[in-house]
Subunit: 211 residues, 4 copies
C-alpha cells in the first residue's frame, strides 16, 4: 500500500459508509408515504492531484492536510426544494454517529460569486484494519438548481484559476439568477407537489397486486 | 415465479444491461479529456400497479401490453446542455446492439403542458434463462432543467388525474419558463464550460502522482 | 408503507451498513500487503414467509419476534482458513460501533448434524427516518468448506422438515467429512499460501506503471 | 486518458456488461423454482503490472497483446456441482451476443498440476465512445472446490515462479484430492439437494404475504 492509498483508505471508507447511510434514509422516505427531502446523494474522495494542488495554493504543508484540509472526503445531498435543506440539516444534527464541527450557511448568505449551498464539516469515526480513526468530511446540501450552477462555476473557476474574465462573469451571474428563479418558482408550487407525491406513494401501496 | 415476475424478468434484465452500457459510456468520457454529453443515467421497470392502472386508462387488454405499452422498461439520460441531447441521440442511433423503432422530439416541439424531452423507443434483445427475447424500452433524453420540471409536472398530473386546476397550471407554466431560461443561459456559457472541463481532466491526468 | 416493510426497514438498513463496513475491511486488506482473513461478505434480511414460519415452529408470538428472533438480520463472513475465523472474531469484538450480546462457537464444538460455524449476535444502532433504533443481527463466520456444506444441509433439512432419512443423513455426513478434510489440508499449506499472497500484493504495488 | 487506460477501457466495459448479463441469469434462476447452475459470478481486468509481466514471460511484444493475450478480460462462473459446469457451457454456447472462439476442458482432463476448470475464450462486441470493438475475454467455469484449490495454487505458483518445491507440491496435491473428494461427495447428494432447493423456492412463493 503506497503512502497515498494508506492515507486515503479511511476517507474512502467514511465516504462509502456515509453514502450507504444517507441513501438508506432516502429509500425509507420513498417506502413511507412522506415527501423525501433527499433527491440524491453523491460522494467522492478528492483526487490526489487536487489535494496536492490545493495544498500548494493554500500553503498547507503536506503533514498538515489531515488537520487543515476539510474536504478530502466529500458528501453531497441534493434536494428538490430550498426548504428541504433545513429539514436535512436538522436531521443530520440529530444523529449520534458523527459530530458536526463546523456549519456555514451560504444559502441565506450566498458567496460573492453567486454560490449557494449549506456546508457542514463532520467528524466521523471509521474502523479500519489498523483501528478506529476520526475522519473529517464536508457535507454540502443544496437544491438541484444550486447544484447545477455550482458545477458550472467550479469548471470556469478552475479554467481561469479563479480570475474569470468580466464578460464570462456576467454570463455566469445571469445563469445564477436563472437558477435562483427556478428555485423560487418551485417553492411556490411546493405544497402542491408534496401533497401529490404523498398521494402517489399511498396509491402505489394500496394497488400493490397480491401476486 | 408468479405471472408478473415472469412477465417482467426480461424487462428488468434489459434495464440493468442498458444502464451498465450507458453508464460505461459516461465513465469513458470522464477518463478521456472530452466533455461528456451524459450527466447521469437512471432506469426503472414500471411498477405493476402503474402498469395495471395505465392499461385501464388507455383501455389496453392485459394480453396486449407487451405490444402496446412501450414504457414498461424506461431509461433516462440526463444532459447538462440542450445541444448534448442531439449528441446522445446520434450516438444511440449508431449502435448495433438495439434498434430504434420510434422517435419523438418534444424538445423542438414541446407538449402543450410545457413538457420537453427527446423520446426513443428501442427494441433490445435480451438473453433470459428461457431463451432470447426482444424487449421494448423507452429512452428519454433531457437536460437537468427539463428533468426537474418533468418530475414536478408528473406528480401534479397524477394528483389531479390529468386535470390540474387553472391556478396551479399557471404556476406550473411559470416554473417551465424558469427551467427554459436556465437552459438558455447555460447554452450561452456552454462553449466556455466545455473548454474548462477538458482542461480539468487533462490537468488531472498530467498531475497524477506516480505513486 | 405496510406493516412488514415498516418493521423490516431498520433491519435492511443495518444489513446494508454492516456489509459496507465489512467489505471495506476486506478491501483495505487487499490494498495492504497482508493476508486477508475475509474471503467474502454476504448479508440478507430473512424473507417474511420464513419469519412467519419460524415464529410458528418456535411458538414465538408475532409481537415478540423483535426480542426473540435474533437472525432477522443476517451477515455471513466467509474465510479461507479455519484460523482466520478467530482473527475475524477478535477484530469484531474490538469494534465500538456495535455490541456483541451472544457468542457461540460451533467450530470447536460442532453441532450433532455436523454443522460448523462461529456465531455472534450483535446489537447495532441504526438511524432511521423515525429516529435511532438498536437492531439485533446474527453474524456467522465460517470457512468456504463449512459454508458449502451448511448450504447443502440447510436445503435438505428444509425439504425433510428436520427429519432427514437415514441414508441421506449418511451421505451428508460423508460430505461433512470431505469438507472437514479440505479445511485440514488447507491449514497445512496455510503458512506457505499467506506468504505467497503477501509477495503478490507487494510485487503488484512495486510494478505499478507510472502511467 | 493515458495509453493503458485507453487500451483497457473496452476490456473494462466488456467485463461490466458480461457480469450484468450473467448475474442476471442467476437472479432469474432464483426467482424461478429451478436449481441455479450459477453459484456466483466474478470478473476482473488483468492489472497492468501482470499484463507487462506475462508479456515478458511469454515473449509477447506489447503491440501483440491484444491478439495474443486472451485473458486480459476475465470472467469466472462458479457452480455448486460438477454437472452444473456442462449446463453453463451449453447455455453460453447458445447465446448470440458473443462468439466462442476457443474451448478447453480441464475438468475431464485436469492439468498436471491438479488444476481443473472449463475455459472458454469468447469474442464480445463492445460499443465505446470511439465506436464498436470486438473484445476477447476468458470465461472460467468451475465448482466451488475447484475454485478454492485454484486460488491457492495460483498464489504458490506465483511465489515460486512456477517451480514449487517438492514437499509443498505434495501438500498441494493432497489438497487437490480433498477438493476432488468434496466434489464427489456433493455429486452423490446432488439430486436430493436440487429437489430440496426447488421445494424451498416454491414454498417461498406460495407463502409470500399479500402485504
Amino acid at each position: 500500500m503506497n503512502r497515498w492509498d494508506n492515507f486515503l483508505a479511511p476517507y474512502r471508507q467514511a465516504v462509502e459508509e456515509l453514502k450507504t447511510k444517507l441513501k438508506g434514509l432516502r429509500e425509507q422516505y420513498e417506502l413511507s408515504s412522506k415527501h423525501t427531502p433527499i433527491e440524491f446523494v453523491t460522494g467522492r474522495v478528492k483526487p490526489v492531484s487536487s489535494i496536492i494542488e490545493k495544498a500548494k495554493r493554500k500553503q498547507i504543508p503536506l503533514d498538515q492536510i489531515e488537520e487543515d484540509m476539510l474536504d478530502i472526503a466529500g458528501i453531497r445531498i441534493v434536494c428538490q426544494f430550498v426548504s428541504d435543506i433545513d429539514t436535512v440539516v436538522h436531521m443530520l444534527s440529530e444523529r449520534e454517529d458523527f459530530a458536526i464541527v463546523e456549519e456555514r450557511d451560504y444559502v441565506k448568505e450566498k458567496k460573492e460569486s453567486g454560490y449557494r449551498s449549506y456546508h457542514l464539516v463532520i467528524e466521523y469515526p471509521v474502523h479500519t484494519i489498523e483501528g478506529m480513526k476520526d475522519v473529517r468530511a464536508e457535507v454540502q446540501i443544496r437544491t438541484l438548481a444550486m447544484n447545477f450552477w455550482a458545477t458550472i462555476e467550479h469548471s470556469l473557476n478552475y479554467k481561469y484559476s479563479g480570475e474569470i474574465p468580466v464578460d464570462i462573469q456576467r454570463r455566469l451571474e445571469r445563469a445564477a439568477e436563472a437558477a435562483f428563479n427556478l428555485d423560487e418558482e418551485m417553492s411556490k408550487i411546493k405544497g402542491e407537489v408534496r401533497e401529490a407525491q404523498e398521494i402517489i406513494t399511498k396509491k402505489r401501496e394500496e394497488n400493490k397486486p397480491d401476486n
